[in-house]
Amino acid sequence: MDRRSVLKLGAAAAATLSQPAILRAQSSKKLSILTWNIADQEALFKEEFAEFKAAHPGVEIEWLDKKGPDLPAFYQTQLVAGTAPDIVDLQGEIWVEWAANGALLDLTPYLQADAEFAKLFNPDYMSGWVYEKKNYLVPFYVAKTLLFYNKLMFKDAGLSEPPASFDEIIKFSEAMAKAEKTGFITLNFDWLYWPLMKMNGIELLTPDLKKPAFNTPEAAAVVDRLAKATASGAINKIAWTGRWVEPNGAFSSGTVGMMQAHSASYFFVKGQGRWINRDTLGAAQAPGNWSTPTNHGFAISKSSKNPDLAFALIKLMTGDKWATKFAGIRRVLTANIEADKACLASLKEEDPLAHAVLETQLEHTDKMTGNWPLANDAQIKDAFWPELQNGLLGRKDAKTALAAAERAVTRVLRRS
């Protein structure tokens, strides 16, 4: 094989291989939608898209799905390259930063123009998507933390009711902890542990969100108690080190008394814990009814060429018909009032436990915490959490840890 044929080969290969990208480059009436680790619903989405295309002939829809931790990285590279998907499904508070930086489209005009549609949703959840009086997202599916408890372990420890106060959480945990067993565990990403602080009246920042407010003697006392309880094994260490699989796995192994987690955990736990049924698993509100949401909502990229189409698609996907279908299959609440009613109604018979869990998601929606509209939420989290972790795991004493955290957070706040 001589030089020329090698070159030909190379050229040919190059041509064919770069084809797809080039083709995708054109085509104007195209919507691309990026979802957050929910590839399991492909069938449903395909149906929805089909209906949408029927209503809007000539529109093609490109559906992308990325796993949780990877989606932000992906979306950012897309932003930089100016190829951001029209619609993006965002979790937690990550949207605020992009909204503040002008990556996302302000949906308020659309929602005002279509009051009927706006009314479909639970106002408390809806208000979670507002930054500087502008509404940037439409709820896709919602979840907030609750307290799961292992009734078997409660019985063994002579306990009947779920804890009604922070003190009781600690007391119960100590009562249940022995050998392999520990009393309490919590998810810790996205501020999901914050109810523990809030129920002790601790605030992260001053009301104007300009200065840290958490470095107080009270806070130090709380962190200290948590640290001591962790050291003694009353609280499971994984509460402060695990991410998703570890804490849920630990709880579903039946050796942890209580778990503070959002409703999505139920299905993971149910899948793994053979011991779980109506009589053995309890679902209650955390003391003070405080909870931290991790909601999913649809936003529209400002760079979108056809925002109206994009909003139309969001409307279709979150409207009563499809929201109901989605809630039914995925067993989640959507903040779409009708859909959630239907979902709960059907679950009451089919899966009373799931019903009990999801019911908590619609109670006390006014008592949500840990979801501050901060443009630099991620940076504050990265500054705050590792230091708090030092305190909780007894590497530093509570005071020093909080002081260090305060320094770090102040730096972030000063920067922006």
Partner: protein, 309 residues
């Protein structure tokens, strides 16, 4: 794509030396192009960015050395990550030492050496993400094999939460890294051993030098190039082993396993601070360059793969 035209003057009549030069550069061109596109340009991009304030949606503003200033004087995470990185670099020799020992054993012509070599090497080709998953679980506090073994042998009475403890997290990650690199080191060292003429040993044997002396006087000096190569590749492999830490601990607990590469990634993609991340990147690059240079000097210069006419 990539295949540039080697313009060797078959038809055009040129002086041989010129033709050679053209051919050489033509042959180098494609590779150089790739490195230019995916290594050098990105590096320059980082260098420029490190003097600016920029986020994907805001225009870049020149801010001089502010990023570097913050990094050096106002960011303890950077220092933590830096020390951890050093820790990992320092661990490379451990792996190399073990590999050297194994290589010597395998090198002594015993039966089944091929089998041993294969087994020891087999961990290298594995996908790092998978390795990380495997080891995250080997180290697991409750059901990890290591804890299980330690407890059944009554070495410990309480399981050790390796990846969740500030003291153990980094060593655990390092162990996993060594586990993966061991075979690679060994093969390179083995090949080094094979190049050592046996008669040298015989001569030494006649001089009555014992095994240890032979090792110190003959083996080690002649292995320098291989050892250097091990160190450089091993170091680069470990300090850029992003997947491993990303999956095993993602830098935690606290910042216990945060190394520069993971920190750079977090700065960029979690905190959208590409400008600051660029500053760290540049520092990181200079650091690696410096260490490699030192290692080269220590191994008596011009060693290993660097250059050889």
């Amino acid at each position: 794509m990539g295949l540039a035209k080697p313009a060797d003057g078959k038809r055009v009549v040129l002086r041989r030396s010129t033709r050679r030069a053209i051919l050489v550069w033509a042959f180098l061109a494609p590779s150089l192009l790739i490195f230019l596109l995916y290594r050098i340009l990105p590096l320059l991009w980082n260098v420029v960015l490190s003097f600016e304030a920029w986020s994907p949606l805001k225009p870049a503003v020149f801010i001089g050395l502010d990023n570097y200033q913050e990094m050096l004087f106002d960011d303890d995470v950077f220092w933590q990550a830096l020390w951890n990185t050093f820790g990992i670099i320092a661990s490379a020799p451990i792996g190399i030492a073990i590999a050297l020992g194994l290589a010597l054993l395998v090198h002594s012509n015993i039966r089944g050496r091929e089998v041993y070599r294969t087994i020891i090497f087999v961990s290298y080709p594995l996908m790092t993400v998978a390795v990380a998953i495997i080891w995250r679980w080997m180290f697991d506090e409750r059901v990890g094999l290591i804890n299980y073994a330690a407890r059944s042998l009554h070495l410990v009475d309480k399981p050790i939460p390796f990846l969740n403890s500030f003291t153990w997290a980094l060593p655990s990650v390092i162990a996993a890294n060594i586990w993966q690199m061991l075979g690679f080191y060994m093969v390179i060292i083995l090949s080094g051993l094979q190049t050592i003429p046996g008669n040298l040993y015989e001569a030494a044997g006649i001089d009555g030098a014992n095994a240890f002396h032979r090792f110190i006087r003959i083996t080690v000096p002649l292995l320098k190039p291989s050892l250097f190569l091990c160190f450089v590749i091993g170091m680069l492999n470990s300090v850029t082993s992003f997947d491993l830490i990303y999956v095993m601990t993602s830098g935690g607990p606290g910042r216990a396993t945060e190394i520069l590469i993971t920190y750079i990634y977090k700065l960029g993609f979690n905190e959208t601070r590409f400008d600051y991340a660029a500053a760290v990147t540049v520092t990181f690059f200079i650091l690696l360059l410096g260490i490699t240079y030192l290692a080269n000097r220590l191994s008596g210069g011009n060693a290993g793969a660097v250059e050889r006419e």
